[in-house]
Amino acid sequence: MSGKTSKLTRPGLPGWLILVGSALLVLVCLFPFWWMVVSSVKTLRELYTVPPIWWPDTPTFQNYSNVLFQSNIPRYFLNSVIVSAGSTGLALILAIFASYGFARFKFKGKPLLQSMVLVAQLLPTAAIIVPLFITLRFLGLVNTYWGLILVYMIITLPLSVWMLTSYFKNIPVELEEAAIIDGASRLECLFRITLPLSLPGIASVMVYAFVTTWNEFIFALCFATDSSVKTLPIGLAEFSTEFNTDWGAVMAASVVMTLPIAILFLSMQRLFVGGLTAGATKG
């Protein structure tokens, strides 16, 4: 990146400051996770000792076996996958059409509708939780997968529309005009030309929406009170009271919950960061 400009030596931070700064940054960001992993392989006795043990002599996997075989966590994991995937997928389908409409058509009230989508994305969730709860109860959707999938669209749909619109806008409209002259319909244009060209955009929307719903806590707490639909965050919160806070098990459950996100994030990091910068500050 700096190939051409390297002859202009830019003043920079002194080397030692970069080293210290980076070390501090890495330590602050990673230490809690390292401690989480260490705590998850300790026995109860090793957890409750002063001074703390930095690495147990014989790491135990008892906490993991407790979490995986003697708790509801696997079920909650499955629930989380169903709800996150369902909500992300449904939002993506709706968003593809809506974003195409916003990106390619001029119509009355478009700026207003677009800013309403942005407002929807920023809305304080606490302010609408009560009426949502009453509405879902009326529709019989409390404690169902569909209820959660729908409610999570509040989070995923505006975001997906906003991000995809900016992707679609960047695809040259001339390609479609040529196709239309050849007799293609609007839908054919969307699915044959624009969509295949926006796969990176779609992938980043999916990752972002999936991660956000996977991590969501407050909606799940209100709308999923039965263990048949509870998601992982609720399971984790429950663990602290249900087992009188067995910290080893809590830490093991935390690792189980973080792992899929960490893998997804590390493999898709470029898309993730790209989508993020596009979504949040592009006017």
Binding site: G12, L13, P131, S240
Partner: protein, 286 residues
Amino acid sequence: MQKQSTGYLFILPALMVLGMLIAYPVAYTGLLSVTDNAGNFVGLENFRRVLAARATPIAFWNTLWWVLGSIIFQVLFGVMAAILLNQNFRGRAIVRSVTLVPWVVPGIVAATTWAWMLHTEFGIINYMLTAPGLIDKPIGWLTNGNTVMPVMIAINIWKMFPFVAIMVLAGLQSIPNDLYEAARIDGASFWEEVWYVMLPQVRSVIVAITLLLVIWALNHITIIYAITRGGPANKTLITPIQIFRTAFDGMQFGQAAALSVMFFGVAIVIVFIYIRTLASNPEEAR
């Protein structure tokens, strides 16, 4: 050449879903706020009651404290990290990835992990402070009324500063090189370059992010709710949690709705300032 109606057809399904899930509940909140639990119209009674509640002013000041404390340090540390990551050094890509980790992990995981690290007797943090003699005896971080809010704010800062860092970094990397060259010809030092070139160039990004952080601080209540539920003795009770508890613990839907209406009013003002800011500098904000 394009028919207007086709555009509407494309956006209609999404708008219907958003209308059902957002516009309708918002309108319904307004209705709930002026009715009692049986659905009778009671005028402003709910507002009067909720404003008279002892917890309301406490929650208001706590919310202010929570938002201000969080965003000031999120922006400060985020910008510092961004300036560091904007340097060319070996391993920069790894440090950058690592920096994002706190932001990516679930809030509930952050909450439980920090709660364990802050454990009074067996927490690693009390050990790290007592062992070298920085404090005499372990502090009950989460039970002591004076420390619990600063600790919550610290966790929130840890969770969100990576976002600021990555956004400001993107802004820093789009600064045209000739600005640096001009500064260099004038013999600017690194810190002068930071002050006169980098910060003014990313100012609009920082403003936009700050507003976004305010909105998020009002929105993301997972950390506080999961660790303290607003306790001890309402020391960490912020307005969104008060709404939540009024509705689901107290079953006072009308009063919760009244509180929601006021909360919503404040939030929507911030949202509109944010949108205006975005709209006023479309070129710089990218």
